[in-house]
């Protein structure tokens, strides 16, 4: 059983109020389920705002200030300032926005930052190696552990919220250095790593995730350096087809200067090869369109960086989207501000596209909730977005260049 300090015990017994008690009770159960021996300080949390209002009201009762920097995840498109531009169903938007605003009021009083993004580390909620984070967002968790070398588990929404409220989180799994060594070794074979597109990286990640489950992954064969964007395309789909929370890219990511370091001197539990046939298998799973028709081109899953927005703007500059085609680029509001000031937002808008903030293009049940028009056939360079949309519509999956080209012609060309 987990041991609590005097202060944690007071929280658990209710001396710090009922909300704190509820949060600490959740964390104690969570810790006990995974053999935690103690609570540790949490440095950063990230929580979706989509909680049931009664639950949220109860757990935030008496909470005047969260105990660590805490940001909020994306909200529904019908609750953003883009609702009018994209077109939403008024009745759906009305009740959704009422719930959103009531929840937001509670979050605001407790000191949460209204980032509404899936990339908190690109706003003010940054991570450094060794920091402890409790985040709910699978792509941000694998990035936080792998790219930034911070320490966090796949903490879902109630855990991240409870960690924010108490300032503590049970020490377990990936918090411990001895649990961060790779279990699955992935060797790239027969692929030209210098010519990968963003979609190639996502397809590789999607295949790896399907094989990895929740194992810690080490990938060899990449030529450093890799940009944040390249690592994001590679890792995000691993947490869609699998439940990967940590992926060492040997020679690239901070805890994997060498293969030995990534493996912690142990032999991997399993080794797989990824070559042209595995890449094709992933492309086939994500490319479900039956014709070359394209209706909606989606970028920014996870939310686009300024470099990605710049690239899309350059590809669109001086061109016009084919009539009737949507092109949406999703990002965080702080990145939007920079993109607007730098002229990229205007370039994308002049071509007929939209840069949208605070929401999600991939989650149809939540992020895209309330949209008036069906998105039709989707084209995207995001492996995660492609995987989500294949559940509901036909999808073209390919590079950012191919996606932009399809928005200009209305036809998908490999």
């Amino acid at each position: 059983m987990i041991k609590l300090t005097d202060e944690q015990q007071r929280m658990y017994q209710g001396e710090r109020g009922p909300g704190v008690q509820q949060a600490m009770t959740i964390l104690v159960k969570y810790g006990n389920a995974y053999d935690a021996e103690r609570m540790i300080r949490v440095d950063s949390t990230h929580t979706p705002p989509a909680f049931n209002l009664d639950f949220l009201t109860q757990i935030l009762t008496g909470v005047s200030q969260v105990k660590a920097i805490s940001s909020l995840h994306m909200t529904r498109i019908c609750c953003t300032r883009w609702a009018g531009t994209v077109g939403v169903v008024p009745e759906l938007a009305e009740s959704a926005c009422q719930a959103h605003n009531e929840g937001l009021d509670l979050f605001r009083k407790a000191g949460f930052l209204e980032t509404f993004t899936c990339v908190p580390f690109l706003t003010e909620n940054t991570l450094r190696p060794g920091m402890v984070f409790s985040w709910s967002e699978s792509s941000a968790i694998v990035a936080g552990n792998s790219i930034f070398g911070a320490r966090g588990n796949r903490d879902s929404a109630p855990i991240a919220l409870s960690s924010a409220i108490t300032g503590f989180t049970p020490e377990m799994l990936l918090h411990k250095p001895e649990n961060r060594h790779a279990e699955l070794l992935v060797e790239l074979e027969g692929l030209d790593v210098t010519s990968f597109t963003d979609a190639d990286l996502g397809a590789i990640g999607f295949y790896i995730g399907s094989q990895a489950g929740d194992k810690i992954v080490a990938v060899t064969g990449f030529a450093p350096p890799l940009s944040y964007e390249e690592l994001k395309y590679l890792m995000t789909p691993m947490a869609v087809s699998g439940a990967v929370a940590l992926c060492h890219v040997v020679g690239v990511t901070p805890e994997a200067p060498t293969l030995e370091a990534a493996l912690g001197g142990q032999s991997p539990r399993a080794t797989i090869k990824v070559g042209p046939s595995e890449l094709k298998q992933a492309y086939d799973a994500l490319n479900t369109a039956k014709s070359d028709q394209v209706d909606t081109v989606l970028f920014g899953c996870p939310h686009a960086t300024i470099s990605e927005i710049q690239k899309i703007a350059h590809l669109l500059a001086g061109n016009k989207l084919r009539s009737g085609i949507r092109l949406w680029v999703l990002t965080a509001d702080v990145i939007y501000s920079l993109a607007k000031r730098s002229g990229y937002v205007d370039v994308i808008q002049e071509a007929g596209g939209l840069v949208i903030t605070d929401t999600c293009i991939s989650d149809r049940f939540y992020g895209l909730y309330g949209l008036k028009e069906d998105l039709g056939v989707v084209a995207t360079s995001s492996g995660k977005s492609a995987a989500y949309h294949t559940r509901a519509t036909q999808v073209h999956y390919g590079s950012t260049e191919a996606c932009v080209a399809s928005a200009l012609t209305g036809k998908w060309r490999e």
Partner: protein, 134 residues
């Protein structure tokens, strides 16, 4: 058959087992209104409602607990869960919803329990009783 496991969330439940060997995600794979599994998962079309859900672990999004909570409020959720190894996202579902859950059993539950078996689970004491369907 009696199997011992580790408590994720305490409590007692019993019901018919619904078993899959495919990892599950409560946002992608569950229709909260009907309690049925959505397409894209091998249990497609089958309801979890009032059953004991036996599955290996989770996958994908970390939002599952919020959707599962809505399913619980609508009365479409399962009564209890038994996992091979409940990755943290799945464990948090049981804890937030206060639904009995066990994992890390002495044998792999997805191998020995079959859909239609009757399950009595005491997650407080870490016990799963499997009554085979005849």
């Amino acid at each position: 058959m009696m199997i011992q496991g580790k408590t994720v969330n305490a409590g007692v439940a019993e019901g018919e087992a619904i078993v899959t060997k495919m990892p599950f995600n409560f946002i992608l794979d569950l229709d909260i209104h009907s309690g049925k599994v959505k397409s894209g998962h091998e249990l497609k079309g089958q309801a979890l409602t009032n059953k004991i859900f036996v599955f290996p672990t989770g996958r994908g999004s970390t939002w599952g607990a919020l959707m599962a909570y809505e399913s619980l409020l609508r009365g479409t959720f399962c009564k209890g869960m038994v996992c091979t190894e409940a990755e943290p996202v799945i464990g948090a579902v049981a804890i937030m919803l206060d639904v009995p859950m066990l994992h890390r059993l002495t044998v792999n539950p997805v191998d020995v329990i079959k859909t239609g078996d009757y399950i009595r689970m005491d997650a407080t004491r870490g016990l799963v009783e499997v009554i085979k369907r005849v």
